[in-house]
């Protein structure tokens, strides 16, 4: 499953996509994110599965444009820590 967490508002599209088929629930992204945007737990959108997968925390889903902003400076942008930490390449950002 591709789980797109985030939103679209007048100013643009802000989604973090997690490929739950690739995600192995290792939690590397959870410790890599400096702002606690990600967490790992039972797949909320596949209630019959017992696998644990990464997701964007409920509180952050409506404001990732703002929370993720410090990791996305306008110039000299380094690789995003969440994406860099994911060995399975299961995370992507839309903006």
């Amino acid at each position: 499953m591709i789980a797109n967490y985030g939103y679209k508002d007048g100013s643009g599209d802000y989604f973090i996509a997690i490929d739950t088929d690739k995600c192995d629930g290792c939690k590397d992204c959870v410790s890599a994110c400096p702002y606690g945007v990600l967490d790992v737990g039972p797949d909320q959108n596949d209630p019959l599965s017992d696998n644990e997968v990464a997701f964007v925390t409920e509180a952050e889903r409506k404001k990732i444009k703002y929370t993720c902003a410090p990791c996305k400076p306008m110039t000299n942008r380094p690789p995003l820590p969440c994406i860099a930490s994911c060995k399975q390449k299961a995370i992507s950002h839309s903006w």
Binding site: M1, N4, K8, D9, D13, F15, Q44, N45, P47, S94
Partner: protein, 291 residues
Amino acid sequence: MVEQQRTELWRWTESRWMNPDLDWRGKLITSGIDVGSVSSQAVILTDGELYAYSNMRTGVDSPDSAMKAINWAMENTGLTLKDLAYTVGTGYGRVNVPFSQRAITEIACHARGGNFMYGPTVRTILDMGGQDCKAIHCDEKGKVTNFLMNDKCAAGTGRGMEVFADLLGVSINDVGDLSLQVDKEPPPVSSTCVVYAKTEATGLLREGWPKNKVLAAYCSAMAHRIMTLLERIGVEEDFAITGGIAKNKGVVTRLEKEVGIPIMKTKYDTQIAGAIGAALFAKALLEKTKK
């Protein structure tokens, strides 16, 4: 089929349905309760078959709304809460359904419920609710394969439409039909943000635009906005729309034109998809634990 309707002058029409040909006695009874920000639904299944449902406005709090919805669905059936073998709550107030055994996201429930309502060929489900908009891809079993949900911004949700209905003094039930009564389609309202769109609409009214033309401009802006949201995950056939705005012909007709794919029809109330999915999960979870 016995259809009962309660008409409210304010906002949309509540509904209740039951299947008189089914007898629940001796069968496995599961239920699903969808407590949304604007509406709440209760669905009762007997051995996985649709037995009864209710669809009403969400009241002051979630537990109360859940109770009212299930009581209305059970009305004149002889069923009591004790007869429900397993109940799953879903929607915005899902963790506050007092008689439920589990809460499941509306994404999972809409996919499952959409699969039941529209059949196994449905691949894309768009749910336009009171305070959110969800685009879901699912497989032939109703399992989610891709989704996105927008509940951060009121544009493209029922709330946005309510704001417009309020501004123009038009009942939400009439918005769709009125918006289609234009000779020529006006350009859509250009602001996405509901606050700015409202300012824009006020300007249009001052310029002398009639109400239906302003509504047409807003419905087409909303259709376009939902289209751009859908584009993120793409639209795969077959395509179905659930939720309250599915009843707004002004938005649906325009969206169908933009997407270029026919929208599936259903005999069910489009607002009960989430609750059906929840009731189906209730059955599946019960069977899983028994194994």
